[in-house]
Amino acid sequence: MALKLFGRSKSKGLRPAPADKSGSVSSARRRHTAEFIPTPRMTLDEDPLKRLIQQGRFSVILRDEARWREQPKAHLVIAEAKRLLEQRMALVPAGSVAIPQTLFAEPGAPEIEIEVEPFLLDVHVVTHARYQQFVDAGGYDDLDYWPEEIWPHLIEFKDQTGEPGPRYWRKGRHNAQLSDHPIVGVSCYEAQAYALWIGQRLPTEAEWQMAASWHINSSADLLRRFPWGDAMDNNRCNIWSSRRGGTVPVSEYASGAAPNQVLQLIGNVWEWTDAQYNISDDVGRPIVGEMPMRVVRGGAFDTFFETQATSHFRSGQIAMGRTFNTGFRCAMNLSAASWING
């Protein structure tokens, strides 16, 4: 297998493109409305297996491989699905994480220790282009992908023109100039629906922290504040002080990759996890949002404090919130990729 476990493909010390000196952080909002070039609709293959590959739903094929074997040339498509999985996902090994339980998370503050099983995680956060496939396939109208409690609110998940889709899109299309940027303007439920549609799921909070802190089970007992090490370096991630003024393509900042080549765990966009945001003050009184909140991790292009863009920093976002700085990546159980373990 070629899963990116220990980063055999070196990052070659890639540096991000120079900062857009004229761009401001708030220009990120304008970017979603100015110079909107709608992306054209992709023509899909009539063959259902090939269509799944085109849509990036290789996990759907691999989860139920036996079902597809009777299809003509199925072995070729299954091989392609495996290749795509190995290209797009990385193995995060087993380890343990300590999740802070208080807002101020000072040394000695309560934490919960969680053991994390090995799992697969997207190398990149989901892009506008990938999410477009879900919208084009009518994902917003298919109740199978949405929890029942959210059905009455589905009508609220619309774009600038009232069509079903992420908040900053128009007429169900994304801006072609942002195709390889992280999808934003989606609630936690939209992120979950997409993940389900491609046969995956959102990472748990512990899994996300494991991927970023890389606290693997080893005698060295190393724990990282950032995927690349212990010191913040704004040349390795896109946060406020990086002066990029908005999201950047998901393949940038190779030098900030985790050891398994997972990119942009810190910065660019906050990432939804599947966890409820439960937190308290230093004497145990709960801190709540105006509406139920989910945990977001990693910080974004507009994160001002470097201490709020680390592998350990927890924040919350209203689950229904559709902000311009929150996206997501998908995960899946290692058992769903059985050939990896033989």
Partner: protein, 293 residues
């Protein structure tokens, strides 16, 4: 024959209220403005520009001003800014250290002698690297309200506004967007007061540039998409007085807190906590005002 030597000045006038103060005075005996302001200004041989940030209590003036100063001193958007005196750093220090610890800074005291002042030299290449001496006090919203209700209760406010080269008016977009008339009425009163203080003759429009900053705009996403349209709809009284009485005004949207949580203290008072910080729209109003000084 009389000697031509002039006697050295024993006092200097306060930059803000023009009260004569001893040369070695630390703060003005009348308005409590730091006297280093005027001493520095004399050394620079330039007239400082006063930019005043005004608005209702709890609208976010201190946080806005603290972030503005911090961003300027971090050379955001290629601004160059140097604090003139350690006292100028106190405001941004207080704001940044509290928000980094996920707390809001304490409310600005109503007493004038408790206010924090900032004196910065600011330049920008888009302005031809011209140096602006900017004096920005952090005023209490309650003091502003008291001065509007009973003029000359806080003479320093009147003096400040009279001398202001530009004004940044903060209005709570979250409240306005939720349908409360309070932000609109308070802003209307403030603008009416300002028009009375700095306004020209009846038919002439007031020339002081006014940047109306819709704060907490993350609560009303429409506000960020189109601040003018938001103001016209939700702050119609303010919109009308701007159009009728002010020659230079513009609307901006801003937010600082990326996500907000609520807890309680020992007495069950609700305490808001900034869960993370993501400043937006801080520099644009300032840059707009600077371009009109």
């Amino acid at each position: 024959m009389a000697t031509a030597t002039r006697a050295p000045a024993r006092s200097i006038p306060c930059l803000i209220c023009e009260t004569q103060n001893q040369l070695d005075a630390i703060v003005c005996t009348n308005c409590f403005a730091p006297m280093t302001l005027i001493q520095e200004a004399l050394v620079q041989e330039r007239d400082p520009c006063i930019v005043t940030v005004i608005g209702d209590s709890n609208v976010g003036k201190t946080v806005y001003l603290g972030f503005l100063l911090d961003m300027l001193s971090k050379r955001a958007e290629d601004f160059k800014a140097v604090p003139k005196g350690a006292y100028s750093v106190n405001l941004q220090h207080t704001v940044i250290s509290h928000l980094a610890a996920r707390q809001f800074p304490p409310k600005t005291a109503m007493e004038v002698d408790q206010w924090l002042w900032a004196y910065y030299q600011v330049s920008h290449h888009r302005r031809g690297d011209k140096i602006y001496d900017l004096v920005m006090p952090d005023m209490a919203g309650e003091a502003l309200a008291a001065e509007i209700a009973a003029p000359r209760t806080f003479t320093v406010i009147r003096s400040l506004l009279e001398k202001s080269a530009g004004v940044i008016l903060l209005v709570d977009a979250a409240l306005a967007g939720a349908g409360s008339p309070q932000p609109d009425f308070f802003a209307l009163k403030l603008m009416s007061y300002l028009d009375g203080v700095v306004g020209g003759k009846r038919r002439q429009l007031t020339k002081t540039p006014i940047a109306v900053v819709l704060s907490k705009a993350d609560y009303s996403p429409d506000c960020f998409d189109n601040p003018r349209s938001f103001a016209k709809t939700n702050l119609n009284r303010l919109w009308n007085i701007c159009e009728n009485r002010f020659a230079h005004f513009e609307f901006f949207a801003t937010s600082v807190v990326g996500s907000l949580g609520y807890g309680a203290d020992e007495s069950d008072n609700v305490i808001p906590y900034p869960l993370h910080v993501a400043p937006h729209g801080i520099l644009e109003p300032f840059e707009w005002v600077l371009a009109r000084l």
